[in-house]
Symmetry: C2
Subunit: 378 residues, 2 copies
């Protein structure tokens, strides 16, 4: 059987491994420490840093295909691995687009895909010029490396712009118009190295502090909006190429769908698919990077919802509440085996149902037993 090497050992690698068990596919994960989420459950663990080319090489040598739990790998290392004959999926070109917001904006704009107004900005002056024609506030984003709200600053005026680290000091940034967000959406697209593409249903993504918090599938947005989202998702997948899961996060703003971020890996917005779809994003990611045929991405129930569980100051050992949480009928628990820290993603709960509201009520009930923040957010 083939071995899929996974750079990183977080919960995405953990859930990829879980999917690999059923497919009979072996995995190896590159972990910083033996107690990382995926390293706790996977048999093949290579200890080392994703910043260390030798560690990446050790992983690649025991793997038929190398894929990624996260995109934060030095491009030069990726190029070195590829030149040594290792198969990376997605490859360096796709990963570079995924991590480089400036590059993304350029390509998406060139393809006529809808984006919030944007410009490259290296200095406070360039931000000021952008705001002069687009108005305040503006959103400043680091060109590379940001995700889950990191590397993003909303600035109401020039004083706030001055607080952005490395702006005007060699850092590369983009500045975007601050758009009214009526709803955040996500589309997950599965791509196989054999050329096949399948799109998951559009979902509503409910955010908390810049991080995906709840997901409702299918989206409750009007069909026209969902069609736009599917069209954009498919177009983006063609532009960025690569294999495996691709997540496209979108805004609905004044009746238009705009691209927010993309991730070239399984994504929090697709976790609902483990129970909610015929084939999960994790299974399709593996199939895709192996060049196998993809599985059916349709929902198996009228509604599937997901609620994240975060670490909370008032609940230092939430895992002790797992028996109580699993007792909530119909709540599917996914616990990542991580030590709790405030704000850290520790797990998620998925519930299927006849309608999103009843499913959300059940999933929130279970999640709140582990994360008091779920109730506070209501």
């Amino acid at each position: 059987m083939p071995t899929v090497g996974i750079v990183g050992a977080g919960q995405l690698a953990r859930m990829m491994h879980q999917a690999a068990v059923a497919l009979g596919v072996d995995t190896a994960v590159l972990a910083n420490a033996a107690d990382e989420s995926a390293a706790r459950v996977a048999s093949g663990v290579e200890l080392g840093s994703p910043d260390d080319l030798d560690a990446l090489r050790r992983l690649a040598r025991r793997s038929d295909v190398v894929t990624f739990d996260h995109e934060l790998v030095e491009p030069a290392h990726l190029a070195a691995l590829e030149s040594e004959g290792h198969v990376l999926r997605p490859g360096p070109a796709t990963l570079e687009i995924a991590v480089n917001k400036l590059e993304q904006r350029r390509r998406f704009a060139a393809a006529g895909l809808p984006l919030p107004g944007w410009a490259e900005a290296r200095t406070t002056g360039e931000v000021r010029d952008f705001a002069a024609s687009n108005g305040w506030p503006v959103v400043i984003k680091a060109a590379r490396g940001g995700y889950d709200g990191r590397g993003v600053w909303v600035c109401r005026d020039e004083t706030e712009v001055a607080t952005v680290p490395r702006l005007g000091d060699g850092g590369r940034f983009i500045v975007e118009a601050f758009v009214t967000i009526d709803q955040e959406l996500a589309v997950n697209v599965a791509r196989s190295a054999n050329g096949e593409t399948r799109v998951y249903p559009v979902v509503d993504s409910l955010q908390r502090a810049g991080v995906c918090n709840e997901v409702v599938a299918p989206s409750r947005q009007p069909e026209a909006i969902q069609r736009q989202a599917l069209h954009i998702g498919f177009a983006v997948s063609q532009l960025v190429g690569g294999a495996g899961n691709l997540a496209i996060e979108l805004f609905v703003s004044d009746g238009r769908v705009l691209i927010n971020e993309i991730a070239a890996r399984p994504h929090n917005s697709g976790h609902f698919s483990i129970e909610g779809c015929v084939t999960s994003q994790f299974e399709n990611h593996l199939r895709g990077v192996l060049g196998w045929p993809l599985g059916d991405t349709r929902l198996v129930a009228p509604a599937a919802v997901m609620v994240n569980v975060f670490g909370h100051t008032s609940s230092p050992r939430p895992e002790l509440n797992l028996p109580e949480a699993v007792a909530v009928e119909g709540a599917h628990l996914h616990w990542y085996g991580k030590t709790s820290r405030p704000g850290r993603k520790l797990g998620h709960v998925t519930t299927l149902g006849a309608d999103p509201d009843s499913a959300l009520a059940t999933a929130r009930e279970a999640a709140a037993i582990l994360d008091p923040g779920v109730r506070e957010a209501r």
Copy 2:
């Protein structure tokens, strides 16, 4: 998080580990070799034989609870582990009933549960006496240790009885009336160490050469038959005690439901529950042995069917066909990572559907790509 130690590293341990990943529960498996089915995918592997008390101790010391992939462990070893303070679930008393057909028959008969006519037999003479009143053929079963058709002999006359090894030579056997089997059924019962019990839907079990081959959930037998089966399943679970999954295999013979075999662990007849039920037998087994609340055992679709994949002489490397098999839409593949040998269980396919026949057609189509025997059996 608690660690569940699993004695044995076959596909049942593999699928338990897969369920443990979602629950955040750590596992350790006792494997004879590092390439056994579960050892290929689990992070915690203790190498050693289940016949070796020291190996069992090493497993138990790193586990909060010890459970079983198979029941073939020396009773004295189990008693030793328990006396040293380790928690075994199910415990030695339950396991002894599960492996000892003579003990089972005695207890089930004493409780008034329906069995084929039976007697203890240590000699050919005792078998002859039984046949004199019950007729030929008879079924001779080793009192301990048989499963999947091993340790079972159908004898049409005394000459055939003479071929049963160790009969008349100190071996302990039971002799049973050869009953007409109209249908084989199975009931899986989840039990928690907290006292809770939940019963899975009755299934039709289609056999090939004495081994469960296909499972159809729910059973297509009349409701009265299914009620008998559920009643027997629940009664047996109360008699044998213990925690985790308990499988009760049954015959329908002339309108009556009779007990065939039991297994105090997850069972092939319950594999359909991974996709087919809200909570799989593997997840409920873990919850049960941990004393956690059990999950909903109801079906998530009108029909769920499972087809086993066996090794076949004409297909020495069936894993090479996995990409083709997963391309069958709606077929959920489970591959155990084992080297193919003729007749060896290598994997299974589950399909959900609106009715059993269409689901079976899909599952057989995928299974036949891996196991030419699936077509031959039609």
